[in-house]
């Protein structure tokens, strides 16, 4: 029910201010962007689609932040593994 799909905005409709074309994996669908009236929207933006409406504009920067957080963990983990393998306790 709360299913939301990230989609890339490829075109803002000329004929209707609230409509836009969104693409998900090469698949296109018209959605209503009326709930993002406060946002600046442009082709290339990503939005979260829910029951035919764009609910939110997706921030790539914030998205990267999570991945960086994970990267950091991974780095720490790798470092630790490296440390482990290079340490000589013999």
């Amino acid at each position: 029910m709360c299913l939301g799909i990230p989609g890339e905005l490829v075109e803002l409709a000329q004929d209707h201010e609230d409509l836009a074309l969104v693409e998900v994996s090469g698949v296109r669908r018209r959605i209503n962007v009326g709930l993002l009236a406060d946002e600046e929207l442009a082709p290339g933006d990503w939005v979260l689609v829910h029951v035919g409406f764009a609910l939110s504009k997706i921030s790539e920067q914030e998205a990267q932040a999570v991945l960086d957080y994970l990267e950091g963990l991974g780095q720490a983990y790798t470092d630790e593994l490296d440390a482990l393998s290079t340490s000589d306790i013999s």
């Binding site: 989609g7 998900v24 994996s25 090469g26 669908r29």
Partner: protein, 357 residues
Amino acid sequence: MSREQQVLDRIERQRRRRPVVREERITLAHGAGGQATHTLIEAVFLEAFRNPLLAPLDDGALLDLAGARTAFTTDSFVVSPLFFPGGDIGDLAVNGTVNDLAMCGARPVHLSAGFILEEGFPVADLRRITASMAAAARAAEVTIVTGDTKVVERGKADGCYVTTAGVGLVERPVTLSAAGARPGDAVIVSGPIGAHGAAIMLARDDFGIEAPITSDTAPLHGIVDALLEALPEHVRTLRDATRGGVATVLNEVARASEAAVVLHEDAIPVTPEVTGVCELLGLDPLYVACEGRFVAVVDGEHADKALSTIRSHPLGADAALIGTVAPSPAGLVLLRTAFGGTRVVDVLVGDPLPRIC
């Protein structure tokens, strides 16, 4: 054994009991190819018609006709819309029956065709359908030798329904059966899955979704012939993954063979477009129908040969080894997810995609 496992074991026992139709009326779920369809078939049709040749879980019946090893099958086609990217009800009706015969290990030979037409149906559309049936029959090297036509009043059909039946000859010493899978076997799918169901959904135009997806409808007799020629004794099961998709077919195999099927999510071929449609509509491609893809269970020792044989056929170029058969949990299909977990892949409940074939 944990209390959870005890509960789950009780449930599995329950699931193996003779199914009962609890509904008073037929719903679309009974036609979706999933659990409700199985229940209806077992509790109503098998119950009434019970005889040794009637094998519900296989694609057709194997007959001895005065010494001739023959396969016999039928399917009714009610797809909506009648015409869709990549095909129409006509080639679907031919390929569907050709494929069911091929899955029995038979060379498809002759087809019958029964038409139920709705008053008002354009004759031009009927010509289009018969032309594509004729082309599909030529491609599949079968002849349509007998037929029937009925017309029903407007509002008592949806343009055109086609029922084909087919006979084929089993010319190799194969023993194919949904019950034939054994631990150690490999599970192969002959190409990217779900294109037919996705194409139909889009053609219905209910969702305003556009994507370059065409139905995968195709006759599989040639590729099956190549496979059986290469490995006549090492192919256990062949199933075309139609209604209910790959997941449903493999559940049937797991149940009939009393073994587990373990799939690897990241090995299962799906095109980006089908993935996109499924995401937008909240569907799982494993349950979306194909009309030109089959699942083969083959002896694990000969998996590479099987895969390369299938891949060498144009219709199998993107075939993939997607899983294996394990001894337990018997009767279940498991999926090793790309995320690194494992989960059950159950039979389809409900009707995400009605009238796809």
